[in-house]
């Protein structure tokens, strides 16, 4: 129940972020480039894939499909965000976080890093719960099959 609630919370965060980013894909492309992490081609692919992935992951959480795999990918996504923000902070870049689209004017700083780090921790907890649940249901299926 707790894991389910956490999953819905994470899905909500991802959905809001995806909707904001998809408003103007070119603005988001600029945000990705401003992190100074990827070259022009990889940056383009990241800008194309990230909002769609947030949207689809969110829908998958709501539909409860492939939940262990989805939880793992969500955790990886937040780990990626932590890495990107940490590196930008270490480089001393004064750039908008761009976490929630055009209107999020928060610059990258300890506050935004703390926020995304918190989300990473929550998503890791969610992933652990989902993987545990996944393994447990697999064990059940194996036992059921053996009993038959």
């Amino acid at each position: 129940m707790i894991a389910r609630s956490i999953g819905l919370f994470l899905a909500g965060v991802l959905l809001v972020s995806a909707i904001e980013h998809a408003k103007n894909p070119f603005f988001f492309l600029g945000t990705v480039y401003s992190y100074d992490l990827l070259d022009s081609n990889f940056g383009l692919w990241a800008a194309a894939i990230l909002p769609t992935s947030q949207f689809l992951l969110s829908a998958m959480v709501f539909a409860q499909i492939w939940h262990a795999g989805v939880a793992l990918v969500i955790s990886s996504l937040f780990a990626l965000f932590v890495f990107a923000q940490g590196l930008a902070l270490a480089k001393g870049l004064v750039i908008p976080c761009g976490c929630f689209g055009v209107e999020s004017n928060t610059s990258i700083g300890w506050q935004s890093l703390f926020w995304v780090l918190s989300l990473l921790i929550v998503s890791l907890f969610y992933a652990v719960c989902c993987i545990y649940e996944h393994n447990a249901s697999k064990r059940c299926t194996i036992t059921e099959n053996a009993e038959k």
């Binding site: 909707i19 894909p25 022009s40 894939i49 492939w66 990918v73």
Partner: protein, 362 residues
């Protein structure tokens, strides 16, 4: 409504020239804080031009002098949103400010909108106003950005220069833009996606390994992204010129630059020479055997010209002189489209002409 706006375009396009005689000189402006630098749109008067264009689209005749007041142009850098609202009310219209708008709002709104824009495609700041007069039947947006005439522009090109803020111009008390249109559409799409995944769920096996699940999820995500950005007109994989414009802003020129001697020898070896200047300049003369890919050319024209060139061939791009940015833009466009050996002849046609090696095409 759209056809009405299109019909108005030629008139709107004539506004700056028509009104140039009416424009007061500096001494006639009451505030000393307002300094006239030029009558270019990229100066401080883009706000006034935008109000004029919006008023013209409603068939209103405006006394330009009434807009040359500090309440409409409050700073040396130009007008802010509050200034625009004041100006619109002074001409008998009204405006509503919207931030965080989406591409859908641009294409679906019926009223003209004054968009907060970048003055230069590679500029870092949003420091300019242009007027969106509507969209045509092909889905192109009609943008009026004086001193240029109103032009039909791809929505992606507008998105590449816009920060999502706009002043919707409408008759008093009658805004038409629904600021929640995007959210409603996105949520609708979301629930459809959830429904599809719920159906898919009943057909997939639940005993897949964790790794298999993660791989399936990644495949769904990547293929969904590619499909979406290929289908949508404003998709990143569908709008190479707009993408190149954004890339131009964030990446410095990292092309190899060559001098005139090297260019001379390369041109004799049959290296592809690309003149990035506008077509009219190219017709007046260029380097021998050069082809023209004008900086203002359409994607279709560029594709037609570049279709004959092998992507592994050496290409040298040039424009007018070392201060000209066209060669960087075209070089970046070429690089983005897979041309691997792109170089720039920085000093351009001016140095080439000085050496008297121009093949006069006229």
């Amino acid at each position: 409504m759209i056809s009405f706006l299109i019909a108005l375009c030629p008139f709107v396009a004539m506004l700056p020239e028509d009104r140039a005689d009416d424009v007061p000189v500096k001494s006639q402006i009451s505030s000393s804080s307002v300094q006239i630098r030029s009558f270019e749109s990229h100066g401080p008067y883009c706000g006034i031009y935008s109000i004029l264009a919006a008023a013209a689209s409603f068939g209103k005749s405006v006394d330009v002098a009434s807009l040359w007041v500090p309440e409409v142009v409050s700073a040396e850098t130009g007008s802010n949103a509050a200034n625009l609202l004041y100006g619109l009310r002074s001409v008998g219209l009204d405006g509503t400010c919207h931030s965080g708008l989406s591409w859908l709002d641009l294409t679906e709104n019926e009223n003209p909108m004054i968009l907060h824009y970048r003055s230069a495609i590679s500029g870092q700041e949003f420091d300019h106003w242009v007027t969106l007069l509507g969209s045509n039947n092909n889905g192109k947006l009609i943008i009026y950005d004086p001193p240029f005439p109103a032009v039909e522009t791809e929505p992606s090109m507008v998105l590449a220069k816009w920060d999502g803020f706009a002043v919707e111009v409408h008759p008093l008390g009658r805004p038409s833009l629904n600021p929640y249109l995007w959210q409603v559409m996105a949520l609708g799409l979301f629930f459809v996606s959830v429904w599809i995944f719920t159906i898919v769920k009943s057909y997939v096996l639940s005993e897949q390994s964790l790794l298999a699940q993660a791989c399936i999820v990644l495949v769904v995500i990547v293929s969904g992204s590619v499909l979406l950005h290929r289908i949508l007109r404003i998709g990143l994989l569908n709008s190479s010129i707009s993408v190149a414009a954004v890339q131009d802003r964030y990446f410095g020129t990292d092309f190899k630059e060559i001098g005139i001697e090297e260019l001379d020898s390369k041109s004799r070896q049959g290296v592809v020479l690309v003149d990035a200047r506008r077509a009219t300049s190219f017709k007046n003369g260029s380097i021998r055997n050069a082809i023209n890919v004008p900086v203002d050319s359409s994607l279709a024209h560029r594709e037609e010209v570049l279709a004959k060139i092998n992507r592994n061939e050496e290409i040298v791009v040039f424009c007018q002189s070392e201060n000209c940015e066209y060669s960087d833009k075209i070089a970046r466009f070429l690089k983005f489209n897979g041309f691997k050996k792109v170089q720039i002849y920085r000093n351009g046609i001016r140095e080439w002409e000085d050496k008297k090696v121009v093949n006069d095409r006229s």
